[in-house]
Amino acid sequence: MTARRRGGPPSQSLGALELFESEPAPPPGAESRSASRAARAVPPPPARDTREVREAPRRAVYVEESIPGATPGSAVSVMALTATARDVLEGAFMPLWVRGEVSDFKAHRNGHWYFCLRGEDAQLKCVAWSRERRRIPAPPDDGMQVVALGRLTVYPARGEMQFSVTRMEAEGDGLWRKALELTRARLQADGLLDPARKRMLPRYPRRIAVITSRDGAALRDVYAVAQRRCPSVEVVLVPAAVQGDSAPESLCFALDQVARWGDVDLVIIGRGGGAREDLWAFNDERVARALATCPVPTISAVGHEIDMSICDLVADLRAPTPSAAAEAAVPVQSELRERLRMSAETLSALAAERVASARNRAAEYSSGLARDAARRVERRRLDLESSGRRLHALSPLATLDRGYAILRTVEGRTVRSVNGLEPGTHVEVVLRDGTAAATVDRALPNGESTSPRAVAGAAP
């Protein structure tokens, strides 16, 4: 801060030097390191304009009168004084941490917070401007013991000394816990924490998206686990900032990209471990809401073992670390091979069974048991109909029983459509009790009349 010379550019503020002449600023309490730095930052005392005095001793009265506020004639305005006091205070202290108890907290409609910090018999009026308090996790409660980082200034309109706070921490992480609880309550109220919302993860994902930073350990960890367990699974990075002021927005954007892209089976969102403040983006309400509405199943993997993050509560699965998330997401390839092998065995065994039972049925019919079989079928059909279960009518045997026929090509393929049925094609008609050979005379799709004129006029 520099002293403004008289006759200099017009200013509401007086030069600090003149004011210190009459009443030098008391050195501020120098308990903390920053406070003692602040003390050193106080401009050097008296600093009377000695040059002028020495050069013109006989004009002392004139000089005195020309010093603002030195005489009734040179009285300064209230505005000038308070503005000067503000300049002095702001120049005297660096931003510093202050300890005290919060009282009279008030969150104004305009987003600013007003409160007092109290200690012993002293109090300090504080303000936290809405645009400057982004790093304060939650509003403090009255009675909370806090330390606050701020700048000391003067609010001229009230003539009050005011501490303008930009950061705050409460004893026992009180503010962080409170912020978490507030967010959690809002998500809960919207039903986003309902356990019924949790979706099953896909058993065999083909592609996994990882929302994290490109250079962090999380991506490497997920990749390493995927490579070890099942290299067939593709890992796709969706890059995002995972710490710092831009992280929440960046994570939301990445989640939005995944939602719009959609060509992925599972999302892992997370980062390796870090200080609580570094992990804070994963407690951001916007991120949590974006995660909750993600159309793809999600795993949160914020590298902390102990605390739950808000994302952990919202994700379909919470993993303690990115590696653990990958373990949960990626199946083991050898197990997949085993499953396939078993599936192949089941398939051939069942097919063999069907062939065998068809052969038996054919044998039954040809050995004179047909009548018994038909009676059995008829009896069952009546049973099922009487109990209202007509599903069995869909089975081919019952259908034949009801008078329907199956049309087959001579190769044994079932004919389901008139397409490809050229006149002259030889077919087999399978009835309940036998097969008839037949030849196609004419084939007409539904809706076409048998009259040659109508056929000729039909659309292709």
Binding site: R206, S232, V233, P239, S343, L350, A351, R354, V355, P396
Partner: protein, 70 residues
């Protein structure tokens, strides 16, 4: 067809094949379909090295996945 879809289809085919009244035609068609699914699913498991990609969005909102190698 993904591995997951193939496995689901295989399970559905197996449960249909368990029906003793299924006609042979259908049974054999289902079997052939199952074999094709098995083949597709095995192909998925032949990949030896994990592919690492990055999602990129062009200005017109079209997504591309490119190799990510450092």
């Amino acid at each position: 067809m993904t591995f997951e879809a193939s496995m689901a289809r295989l399970e559905a085919i197996a449960s249909r094949l368990e029906d003793d009244e299924l006609d042979l035609d259908t049974a054999l068609a289902l079997f052939e379909e199952g074999v094709a699914e098995l083949r597709a699913a095995s192909a998925f498991l032949t990949q030896a090295e994990t592919r690492l990609k990055q999602l990129n969005e062009a200005a017109d909102g079209v997504f591309r996945i490119d190799d990510l190698r450092d």
